[in-house]
């Protein structure tokens, strides 16, 4: 191809290149604009990081050494925190299981129940566990029980969705085969579906248990018991050495729950 013949193509290519460059520049400017507006809205003040560092260093100094003499006070809230996670997960499983069956496209008995179950699961998930805790504290009073209820209801969201997806992805051939033997619907589910999906369900539930134990720490801040409640009280009373002890116990609980959950899930796999 001669240079003359190639000229229109080269001109067209340079226009395309220029257009792409302009587009990239506009995208970069838009990104900067988003970051700037976010900094304005959150009223970010970098100078406060410097002054705040002094305050933080002062708190750390006052929190050292952790007050291990008060360890006896911590056992009970620690147990409460773990049990909040266990109760919340079990409650969530009990409520999520029937919803998941209804919300699985391949097992649901009707489209109406499918959409209703999906709606309930979506709602339970959309409302944060802290908000559920506030609602239950108002309804049943302070203490670990409203926290456990909050975790149960919020867990429906994640457990219901993942359980339903597991059911939808299971191999339907054994289900069809059992149906044709004349087994009833409930028998097909218990003999065909449950054995196939149980390992996945247990893995999901263990992961949720790990999540719930971590969430239960925060729920204490709204009066729902556990270590979180003790942490809030200690901070309000400026007992920073107790705060550091509680943080150490929290760290141990979270890491232990995470490791145990991962270990059990690995064994299931």
């Amino acid at each position: 191809m001669s240079l003359d013949a190639a000229a229109p193509q080269l001109a067209e290519r340079s226009w395309t290149e220029a257009f792409r460059s302009a587009l990239r520049l506009m995208l970069a400017l838009a990104l900067v604009a988003i970051v700037v507006q976010a900094a304005i809205v959150v009223r970010a003040r970098p100078q406060d990081l410097i002054t705040g560092a002094y305050g933080m260093a002062d708190i750390i100094r006052r929190a050292m050494p952790p007050d291990f003499g008060k360890i006896d006070m911590v056992w009970w809230p620690a147990l409460e925190t773990i049990d909040l996670g266990i109760f919340g997960t079990l409650g969530g499983i009990i409520m999520a299981l029937p919803l998941a069956v209804l919300a699985a496209a391949n097992l649901t008995p009707s489209r109406f129940l499918y959409y209703t179950a999906r709606g309930v699961i979506g709602f339970a998930r959309a409302v944060p566990d802290l908000v559920w805790a506030l609602l239950f504290v108002t309804a049943v009073g302070l203490g670990p029980f409203p926290g456990a209820l909050a975790l149960s209801v919020h867990s429906i969201g994640m457990l219901g969705r993942l359980f339903a997806e597991t059911i939808e992805h299971m191999d339907m051939a054994p289900i069809d085969a059992l149906t044709l033997t004349g087994a009833r619907r409930i028998q097909v589910f218990s003999h065909g579906a449950i054995p196939s999906i149980l390992p996945s369900f247990v893995g999901i539930a263990l992961y949720r248990l790990d999540e719930n134990i971590r969430s239960s720490l925060v729920l204490g801040f709204v009066g729902a018991g556990g270590i979180g409640f003790e942490l809030l009280s200690a901070m309000s009373l400026f007992q920073y050495q107790l705060v550091s002890l509680l943080l150490i116990v929290t760290f141990v609980i979270v890491i232990a729950a995470q490791r145990l959950s991962a270990l059990l899930r690995a064994r299931l796999g």
């Binding site: 054994p174 069809d176 044709l180 004349g182 028998q187 449950i194």
Partner: protein, 247 residues
Amino acid sequence: MLRVCGLTMRYPDGKVALADFDLSIEAGELVVVLGGNGSGKTTLLRCISRMLSPTAGEVWLNDTNLAALSGERLRQARLPLAMIWQHASLVRRRSVLSNVAAGALGRYGGLWTALGGLPTVERRVAYDYLGAVGLAALAGQRAGTLSGGQAQRVAIARALAQRPQVLLADEPVASLDPEAADDIMRLLRHLATHEHLAVLCVLHQVELAYAYADRVVGIRDGRIAFDRPWAELPRDAVRQLYLNEAA
């Protein structure tokens, strides 16, 4: 025992998979259905078992027209009819014995079986059926660890646990090696001859049809091309079924 009259299946897209199909099969008979891909073989079995609802026609199992039933009445009426598939369709995480005993679930109601339990008597009987298919030694093994041929034998034992009068087999040897395929066909022949089951088997292997069938039914474009005892069946007629498909 099993009689199909004027069975017609038209899919929502207008495609006619079966047209005015007639077929009957008696106890002790092994009838093989041959036909090219998409000729309507599997649709025939699915309509007979009522996994699909035929557009028209009747499916008589003894004195009951399955095509006219639905729900609980269909479930009850279908109990004497068992089916095995190309893939064994076992519950892989359950033991071989539990898979076989599950074939009897249709005869039991109650909370125990609804919660995943199996009647003790059926476990014992299941063991006998596993013996009948030569796999009693594997009773405690997980179904997921079996070979294709073993899994298909377990599926047959599960079908037997249902105590059927009619056994439908949809390409039961399609994924097996020749030796395992021969074993399965010999077993089906044995069930027809000695257990007096009516066996209706869809196959692609013409040689197996000649070796084991009492009668061969040819199916082309959803219609019967021939229905004859194998001894009277010219090879050309069978070849014609597949030639048409190639064209």
